[in-house]
């Protein structure tokens, strides 16, 4: 009996509806997500390994993948720095307008990406509110990789703020007091006691912002300029290949991007596992 229970796939329960709920969940998940994604990988597999590598390491594809990744990386690093400052200010300080500011952080989650794209382009175009200030300084933002980075900062910011905020909120003030009592300066307390505890959350937020930014399309294409080899992001190249009916090539670039995303997700999981081991949470 005990052996049979150990082998059973589900623990017995008085609640009904397990079969229906799980059956529907698995069917829906397979039809909407798993089978279509498998189709993508299968399609790129029709090229064979050599053909796949040929597409992915072609100069134009490589330039697009590199641009997507590097701009996303820069944006995620800036978001990590400013996201921590914003989370810190929102949790630690009291000032008028704080709750409004806090609510506003979620704007990039709610604002459609195409709207963000045209708004940012209007702002940073040479005749825009910000662009007209930067133009005399010789800084061109719109239609350059710098513009792509700005758009990616916009969409990635909430990820860092919202992952760091709850950890900072629950931070034990007694640790800070202990550190101060033992003679640490405030700077030492912040950088040697607090930041290491926040590090897993910061890294998680950073990785989530990075993963989102690598695949971002809507907010970027308006401001990017979309010049092959210069300001053409990987998702745009997929669309171009698709319009040429290069299904297998599009699938290959898509598979390469999926692999990048999964590597980033794996990083998140490793960080969280390490953090549980280190801080026992």
């Amino acid at each position: 009996m005990a052996g049979a229970r150990g082998l059973a796939l589900k623990k017995p329960s008085a609640i009904p509806g397990f079969g229906l709920a799980l059956g529907f969940t698995l069917t829906y998940l397979s039809l909407i997500v798993l089978i279509p994604l498998a189709g993508l990988v299968l399609k790129s597999a029709t090229l064979g390994l050599a053909g796949f590598l040929d597409v992915v390491t072609g100069p134009r594809t490589l330039a697009a993948l590199r641009l997507s990744f590097v701009t996303a990386l820069i944006a995620a690093i800036l978001n990590a720095v400013f996201g921590v400052i914003i989370a810190w200010v929102l949790i630690r300080y009291r000032f008028p307008g704080r709750r409004l500011l806090d609510a506003f952080v979620d704007l990039p989650f709610a604002l459609p990406t195409a709207v963000a794209g045209i708004a940012l382009t209007a702002l940073y175009a040479p005749n825009g509110w910000i662009g007209s200030w930067l133009e005399p300084l010789g800084i061109k933002v719109a239609y350059t990789p710098l513009g792509i980075t700005i758009a990616l900062i916009f969409i990635g910011l909430p990820f860092v703020v919202r992952t760091v905020q709850p950890v900072l909120e629950e931070f034990d003030r007694e640790l800070e007091e202990a550190s101060a009592t033992l003679g640490a300066s405030r700077r030492q307390t912040v950088f040697l006691v607090m930041l290491p505890t926040l590090l897993p959350a910061i890294l998680t937020g950073f990785a989530l912002a990075l993963a989102r930014a690598v695949g971002e399309y809507g907010s970027v294409i308006f401001i990017a300029g979309n010049m092959p080899f210069k300001s053409e992001i990987a998702p745009l190249l997929i669309i171009i290949r698709l319009e040429e009916f290069g299904y297998a090539q599009a699938a290959a670039i898509g598979t390469a991007m999926l692999m990048i995303s999964f590597a980033i997700l794996l990083f998140v999981h490793l960080v969280q596992a390490w953090s549980r081991k280190r801080f026992g949470q």
């Binding site: 589900k10 329960s13 008085a14 609640i15 009904p16 397990f18 229906l20 799980l22 829906y28 909407i32 997500v33 798993l34 089978i35 994604l37 189709g39 993508l40 399609k43 400013f82 400052i85 810190w88 200010v89 929102l90 009291r94 000032f95 008028p96 500011l101 609510a103 506003f104 704007l107 709610a110 604002l111 459609p112 990406t113 195409a114 709207v115 045209i118 708004a119 702002l123 825009g128 509110w129 916009f154 910011l157 990820f159 919202r162 905020q165 007091e177 101060a180 405030r186 695949g215 971002e216 399309y217 998702p235 698709l242 299904y247 599009a250 699938a251 898509g254 999926l258 995303s261 997700l265």
Partner: protein, 294 residues
């Protein structure tokens, strides 16, 4: 907001002992940096949408959002959301019932698979359906012989929207229902209620605010999705153009006033979404388990 305006208020509020906070100068500097960053990167883009939309006057504004192509884009956007959101609500309820109320092997794998669409680029979310149902796709020849159109038509756009909004409802419900446990349901069942009655009378009221929270976020993304829908739409004016796609077409035709007018409707939707979201987070903080997870 200047530091001078903040200073007296900061001093008058009770604050923790000096050892657990920074020097006033550092504090003001950090608050300043945070405000400037949020104003430049978030507030200015939002404000510019409304300013650009109204630049050509109210007449042009209303003409732009009431012309037939705009109206058909708005209708199509509403229609797609009206199909995609309920589909994901039913899925979210089923998935959270299975995951939260039962113990079975493979549960954590299932939980992470639900979040999968969040880590997929929107363009890939559209691409996968083109590979399946497009003219050169796996089912292309069959669909053509049966005269069924999925890509460049409503079904494809609905599928792509369902994909990108897939996790929204489930990820709000699963953690909350796991927290709530099964005692309430067991009590109802032992008192003789049927399974469905237990679900509608006990479980659903317990999760209603989290469900609404998930629906609001799901709906915002469904109405605003651009990349995935763009790949499968075909951009046929008046037929397969949603609001975000209509914005793109107008913008690329240098019809900026009209593009921003339609965009301002989407920005308004985003603001309404934020207000509902914040209200739910403030009023029902205990009943929204995942309010801090995104």
């Amino acid at each position: 907001m200047t530091d001078a305006a903040i200073a007296p208020l900061l001093l008058s509020t009770p604050r923790p002992k000096a050892v657990t906070t920074e020097q006033p100068l550092v504090r003001y500097a950090l608050i300043g940096v945070a405000i400037i960053f949020l104003v430049v990167f978030l507030f200015l883009p939002l404000a510019s949408v409304f300013v650009e939309a109204l630049r050509a006057g109210l007449g042009t504004y209303f003409a732009s959002i009431t012309e037939p192509d705009a109206v058909s884009a708005i209708t199509l956007t509403l229609l797609i959301a009206a199909i995609a959101v309920p589909a994901n609500v039913i899925f979210g309820l089923a998935a959270s019932w299975a995951i939260a109320k039962f113990d079975f092997s493979g549960k954590s794998l299932l939980n992470s698979l639900i979040d999968l669409p969040f880590s997929v680029s929107p363009v890939i979310s559209g691409l996968i359906y083109v590979l399946l149902f497009g003219a050169q796709g796996y089912f292309g020849p069959y669909l053509k012989s049966e005269n069924i159109q999925i890509i460049f038509a409503l079904p494809g756009m609905v599928l792509a929207t369902i994909f990108v909004t897939f996790p929204f409802v489930a990820r709000e419900l699963v953690p909350l229902m796991q927290e709530q446990g099964t005692q309430d349901e067991e009590a109802a069942l032992s008192l003789g209620a049927s399974g469905w009655k237990t679900f509608f009378k006990v479980t659903l009221p317990n999760i209603r605010w989290a469900l609404l929270y998930g629906v609001v976020l799901c709906n915002a993304r469904a109405m605003g999705e651009f990349g995935a829908v763009s790949v499968v739409s075909g951009h046929i004016r008046g037929r397969t153009n949603t609001m975000p796609l209509h914005v793109e077409i107008l913008y690329n035709e240098y019809n900026f006033a009209a593009a921003f007018a339609v965009a301002s409707l989407l920005a308004l939707l985003a603001l309404i979404t934020l207000v509902i979201k914040i209200t739910l987070e403030w009023r029902y903080v205990d009943q929204i388990a995942a309010s801090r997870r995104h």
